[in-house]
Symmetry: D2
Subunit: 224 residues, 4 copies
């Protein structure tokens, strides 16, 4: 098990079935053994470009909702990394497949994509920093867990580039940092016994819903 | 054609196919001729209860985003009507079918339901009053148009209660008021030639997306 | 001491000095003994009209940020009462003084007025329902406390109309309801021991800051 | 005259008096000729630290409210520069004066400071990207104009460090970029004739109010 902090471990345990559906999804297994059709992967990449735009907006909202400089620095650095680096990587990967940046920008947003990002953003707008973190966690940390596992278990080179990105030290460090950010934010607002407050179950619900929306995102990826 | 103002007429024309898919959906036709399975109708009512909670929140957001007292009064009256009256009607209709308020509150939110309301709320949070109005319009005015048509074309008494609500003078007046509110808000912010501004196409996109999400909502209604 | 619930009692105790500066302000004493210059009172009424617009928007935001139907109903009813009744009362009081509604709408917003309402709204947008309630409480409940006291201690009839409004049963009931809404919202999110969570001090800070902004508002009222 | 684009030139012209009050304020003249008391400068620096936290949050909100990748990149880079660089510079300048980072974090927020940042943030939350830009412009671009002038007209070395920061090529480039960002955002949303839409006067009002709040901020700086 990846160690991305205490809250994540508890949330994952509390959403065991959807978490497994997400992290062991047929799409993921197809990345692992190379059986994922190229067409599905490219469809996923296009949708993920649109996803990353809204996901970056959600991390920017985390900076808005921070209540101390450490949280702001972490959120600002994440936005910058997403917008000025990860999206660039995406553009380059797609370019190598003959998909231009103009194609990416013209991608019609799939229903499962829209549902997921708007859920996360709305949770953040309507709630506070913690609501947003709970809704953001499954994507960031789930990709970390998937990447770490496939880094060890992959039986094919076909999707090595994708796997290396998320299995790599850089991304794994991001996951540990985000896990630590979440743990500190919980204690800072709700105290050491945060799991004893009613807020904890509301936050766990956000984590659970976002995890289910990840499952739908993979489902969508399989049906170009 | 129902006359709910100029902007609505243009938006509807610009989204002719999804608008038809929405307002002539099999679910709607089943209400008209009474062929809609009871189970589907009750499933829809349960989901609509959850929908109305978030829809009311979106109208409350319209009051927040108003920039004059007339808009605030209109939005505040709508929220009050939704929360303190329409939801009550819902509760009573459901009670007559043996569905308690506790059942309603415990309804798990369907994916198509969540996608729609979060889209509308997020459009409002991220944009201004006009973005929110464009995303709210298909629900309010589409139900008006459906109600008005079924009021004339229904061939069955089975769903007479539902039809009468939306065909009735009260609801039709709400639709004319909302249409007028939107027209005035557009002129007030963008000028008489508002369709010539780039904003108009962004607003039309919100209307179009929300209309497509209405289609998915009916689809969901048909599959309890 | 007015009994508007547990959280209010604790907040007031924790901000004893600014609370006294607010509720025993020279402006308030001038209302009590009739010594407040008419010019100052009319200046205050004009600014309060602008204040109420933004204050109503803040209560609408509370409806958006509610997480259950009871909170929504309370917030929606408050917005409706403010926008469709209290503001009307304001307009009528001002009309009796020769100030037209057009005058009211043209009132340039004083700096102390702007500072207060934007603080409250921003606390609500950036935080959750509790942050908003803590920032809204000093105005709603302070006017209740001032009204109740002046209802007993007034030595002049000059500002009887104003005093009767806030001393009256209707307004006192609103205060008890808002106090109960806040107490329930705290328990619902943070548990019975909510004062033991770090959130409590952040909320108390909002209450304290908003109380200080009320003092500045009275100061502004005295300097037309 | 600094050339930071078309919209800025029009806004500045439309708010000529407050703009002059802001950019030729006694505080500014004291920086120019070295007559500003050290105590006032340090008071200003402390408050500016608190200001920059909320100002960074407002730029993060601009990333949230962007509707294309270019706007997001610009906003994200600005947040990152503010949070991870400009604030660091601040900390170092203060440290050289014996003010620790802990002192900075413990600074009680002055009323004029709070009024300004909450106004900007609320304008952004309630409105769209343009509302936020109009409210952010006076600070960013006014400091550019002040810096550029003092770079030429300073008659003392006392505040050379401060002046060099804002007169320097890096900051001047930021100003030209922000001016271009605003011009492009206006055309993108309202069309080439954006000054002919009613929105333009609402945006000009934001610029005007924020400029007046800058004047109050300098006033506050002069009274430690």
């Amino acid at each position: 098990m990846s160690d991305y902090g205490k809250a994540f471990a508890l949330w994952r345990e509390g959403s065991a079935t959807p978490w497994r559906d997400y992290t062991r999804h047929a799409f993921v297994e197809g990345l692992r053994d190379g059986s994922l059709p190229r067409e599905a992967f490219l469809h996923y990449l296009r949708q993920d470009y649109v996803f990353l735009i809204h996901f970056s907006r959600a991390w920017a909202l985390a900076a808005v909702k921070s209540d101390n400089l450490d949280e702001m620095k972490a959120a600002a650095a994440t936005v910058n990394a997403l917008v000025n680096h990860e999206m660039q990587l995406h553009v380059e990967t797609c370019a190598a497949e003959g998909i231009t940046e103009a194609d990416l920008q013209a991608t019609p947003e799939a229903a499962a994509n829209l549902a997921y990002t708007r859920y996360v953003l709305e949770a953040g707008f309507s709630g506070d920093f913690l609501d947003l973190m709970a809704a953001l966690a499954p994507c960031v940390l789930g990709y970390g867990e998937i990447g770490a596992r496939l880094g060890k278990e992959a039986t094919s080179q076909t999707y090595k580039g994708w796997i290396d990105t998320y299995a790599g030290d850089d991304y794994q460090e991001v996951c540990r940092d985000v896990g630590a950010l979440i743990d500190a934010a919980l204690v800072r607002r709700l105290g050491e016994d945060y799991t004893q407050t009613p807020r904890w179950s509301a936050l766990s619900k956000h984590f659970d819903t976002a995890t289910r929306l990840e499952v739908s995102f993979w489902d969508m990826g399989l049906t170009p």
